[in-house]
Symmetry: C2
Subunit: 584 residues, 2 copies
């Protein structure tokens, strides 16, 4: 009997037509989706998610916890019609290999220290807590009443215990062993989670997912409005936005733990923009969304994970932010860019719906946030799309055809994503098909002949229109005007900037030459681009694993002057100036 | 129609026979049980507890909260058969008048500071928390997520707010106004609660009650055993001992608040012996009860009152202790005795089931706890009883009758309490009816003729027997041996001790001369006795209202060497020596 099977993997989804009852392991291996360490069903490493009845061997190799999380072994799974398989994203994100290589002084914020607590005698009648503090060389503790209640039995159990220390403070007791942390960057669009082994200094596993709040709106403002509606309706039930993100983080943690066979993490380092962290904590975002744009708090926070509904005995460390629109994710990116160590002047830009821009010079920082709108994420363009399979992500000149392009995953072109948009516009400017005011004109060149009905035809269906060009023009003007205001305020010229750090997905994907060609970044700086990739995650890892990073982050924030562009006298003029595209 | 009415008041219970429908206010006033401020039913101050349907005027004068607590106005209450009235204990305990007079530098641990939080503008975009911290001159905060969630609306409400500060730390926001504290001394037998106005430096109201854990056992060991049984039975439901004391404190707080018309307290200062504080927190007492006598913790604790099921937004400050048998109540008594300020050598004794004894000299302290057993509380003596109505509390020589006595409340003698026991034994020793080995012998004197069948007859039914004398002899030997060990260890003689502080109820009630006569205290020190009364409550008040008292308490504890008598080489010898009564 024929069986149709769906396999979700990191790059997308594939469909298989096979015979019911056929083993799925060879199919997955041959499709390059899953390595089979032993291929015999014995090693227990060919993990997949599948809704099947577990075999006895799966039971013994995986254990109840992983089975309950939906994990199965490919070698023990047989095809059936309608079966859906998900291949775990082991070692997915770019940051993965960087951790062990990176050059910084390690000192995890929370660490496990093996304990030898002396026995009580009539000559040494110190309390259990006092003997514990002495053995752990701790200056105090944050044990809850429940933990204190369990302490006498624990100390007398003979178990090999470790103290969980946060600086001088004892947080709790754990079994002796390796300390792990979950690192989460809560982006408005995507949530990235890394499971880090703090002792071995390696990333054990990683996951990236669409933010579960997405159904409530694409951008921070619509999310906040949704949350305000819930408040105005009388706060019935739990806050839906908070519940969505907390459940998602919990779910990602449980899957990462189950996949890695790790019991629990000792801490969670959480970063994200100011709105995302407000929604995570259930704090009202109303005043972030309207002038004068006031967040409830930007301070770092330390909360038990359980307080956020996350099933872990670890503590959540929420990173501090700078303002409503320069959040903890930018602070993290600054740590990733080494801004807490002296260096030559740099610009750091995180391009999304808002372009958060920071100028660093001599240990002082200037920051602003420019509303770019969602066009770089493809949302408002006629054929725009996110950077997924089928998106045109690169466009080049071609003498014969006028242009040639590539798509993500090599799939048939379905639309165009941010990096493709920059390339296409740069190409049009180079060819003189768009003038410096942004007007699109057909012509007799191979490229010019692809312009019809006020649109460049990339394919018969994928078009880049005059209206799209206007959208990009407005966005790039806002972003670039922000940069110019920062440089003006600091009294610096473009050539003084030694590095241009690009954070975030779009920054990593775009070609600097195209960005400079359309004027999104100043001419000349395309040579000085340093792509940080998943900078916020990496900074959040440094925040909890680099010696002195928390104090360094606080100092960076103290040294930052935030410039509210909407209140800046020079912004309108600069914005209009930057509307013009650079001459060839 | 005749109505029988019962009135519970601080000194006991009285029964009234009156006419149904008759106003009760004049009856209570004439019996000296209640002052009537206006006598017209208009001032709302003649508060009583009664189970009656409230009148409209009571509704408007008292408000729903007090009505719900059972409070009524005497001027609006009419007699009916079976009516039970309780007169609130306004201003009961001895400590009442002392607070305002006492000479120490005030600086409450938690204080309300009126706030003026600036409005946010585009030029001042600091977060709500940051503007709040600046306005409060606070260095950090402990606001919960719920409090942070409520903050934006609170700051924008226009309400006159005060910051609740604990040192540099912002604990929360409150309406502007006076700050109150609840002071609780959890004794094994009784619980004393004071409601203190920290700004006005006065005690607003006080309550004293039998510890609600009493049904679970009279002493700490039986309470611990009861708690262990609950643990061993699988910890079903809530811990009954913890629930009893938490409910009792909550109930006392609600009554004190309702009687005083105060909204809430900002903090609670809790003291008590180590077992009582363990049971309060639900911490297992098992290892307190058996060698080597190890408590879970002796550290000070700070908990939200709600964590203990107490309906208050205040914080509980639990005082620190010295050892399993020298608890936070003794630390409080030391503060009451000014031990944190330099003075001449003193002994402090709190006589109960255990005699906690502290010797102070040159800023160093030695402490021990001697098992006196319950005989001073009347429990094990043949006609012993607690210091209640009808207890013989004082016995004197009488040439004709051999002795005369008084009873508490002037009621017919029902038994004898601790102070009476000391007097009676001193009298027998003076008269030679008990020799220095403790043998009771009848004789031909008026006193000697009252000795029959190995017992002194105080009345026909109230007897003080040979066996009772042996009990007292053992108890006084233990207490006194402890004192002698401390003096030996410090290299001091009796005459070096300049003051003998007596803490606790029995210490206040006993006559020092009798105590010295039977050898419970060293001869000569009866001239140097200072009665501290409810020292633990007063010390707990100082702990949260005296500048630097928390650090002072920590330093006192650091300076204290606890001597475990059961492990002390000289104790047995001293114990046997002290068995002998002093010669005349």
């Amino acid at each position: 009997m024929e069986a149709r099977m769906t396999v979700h993997h990191q790059q997308g989804t594939r469909h298989f037509v096979c015979t019911a009852g056929e083993p799925v392991a060879p199919l997955l291996r041959d499709a390059g989706l899953l390595p089979l360490p032993c291929g015999l069903g014995k090693c227990g490493k060919c993990l997949i998610y599948a809704d099947t009845a577990p075999t006895d061997e799966e039971r013994s190799l995986l254990g109840e916890r992983r089975l309950a999380a939906g994990l199965r072994l490919a070698c023990h799974t047989r095809a059936r019609d309608g079966l859906e398989i998900t291949v775990p994203h082991a070692g997915a994100l770019k940051v993965l290999t960087q951790y062990a290589d990176m050059d910084y002084v390690r000192e995890p914020l929370v660490r496990r220290v093996p304990l030898a607590v002396g026995e009580a005698t009539l000559e040494d009648q110190r309390s259990d807590v006092q003997r514990l503090l002495t053995a752990a060389q701790a200056g105090g503790h944050e044990l809850t009443l429940e933990e204190l209640t369990a302490l006498p039995a624990q100390l007398r159990s003979g178990e090999a215990l470790a103290a969980l220390l946060h600086g001088e403070k004892l947080l709790g007791l754990r079994p002796q062993g390796t300390s792990h942390a979950l690192i989460v960057d809560i982006g408005t669009t995507t949530v990235a989670a890394l499971l880090a082994d703090l002792d071995g200094q390696r990333i054990v596993a990683a996951l990236g997912e669409r933010n579960a709040q997405s159904p409530y709106g694409a951008d921070v403002i619509s999310r906040i409005h949704r949350e305000m509606e819930w408040e105005k309706a009388g706060r019935q039930g739990s806050n839906p936005l908070q519940a969505a993100i907390c459940r998602q983080i919990d779910d990602m943690l449980q899957r990462l733990l189950a996949e890695s066979g790790i019991q629990d993490v000792d801490m969670l380092s959480l970063t994200g923009n100011t709105t995302m962290l407000h929604l995570l904590c259930g704090l009202p975002g109303e005043h972030i969304s309207k002038a004068p744009f006031i967040p409830v708090t930007l301070e770092p926070m330390c909360l038990p994970a359980q307080r956020l509904g996350i099933r872990s005995a670890g503590r959540c460390f929420l990173m501090p932010g700078i303002s409503s629109y320069i959040g903890a994710d930018i602070v993290a990116s600054l740590l990733a860019a080494d801004a807490h160590h002296p260096q030559e002047p740099f610009l750091l830009v995180d391009l999304g719906t808002n372009a958060e821009t920071v100028l660093y010079a001599d240990g002082k920082l200037l920051a602003c946030s420019a509303a770019a709108g969602p066009c770089f994420e493809g949302a408002t363009l006629s054929c725009g799309m996110a950077g997924q399979d089928g998106a045109i992500d690169a466009v080049e000149a071609d003498a014969a055809q006028g242009l040639r392009f590539s798509t993500i995953g090599g799939a048939p072109a379905q639309g165009i994503c941010g990096s493709g948009v920059l390339d296409a516009l740069a190409l049009l400017l180079d060819a003189g098909c768009v003038d410096e005011t942004g007007r699109l004109e057909a012509g007799d060149s191979p490229l010019g002949r692809r312009i019809r009905d006020d649109a460049l035809l990339l394919t018969e269906t994928v078009r880049f229109t005059q209206r799209d060009i206007r959208e990009v023009q407005l966005a790039k003007a806002a972003v670039r005007a922000g940069m110019e205001i920062l440089l003006q305020e600091a009294g610096l010229r473009h050539e003084d900037v030694r590095r241009l750090y690009l954070a975030g997905g779009f920054g990593s994907a775009m070609r600097p030459r195209s960005a400079a060609r359309i004027g999104l970044i100043p001419a000349g700086l395309e040579q000085r681009v340093h792509v940080l990739g998943n900078a916020a995650s990496f900074g959040a890892l440094r925040y909890v694993s680099e010696k002195g990073a928390q104090a360094a982050a606080a100092e960076l924030i103290r040294q930052t002057r935030y410039i509210e562009l909407s209140a800046h006298g020079g912004f309108s003029e600069s914005y209009v100036e930057q509307m013009i595209f650079p001459a060839a």
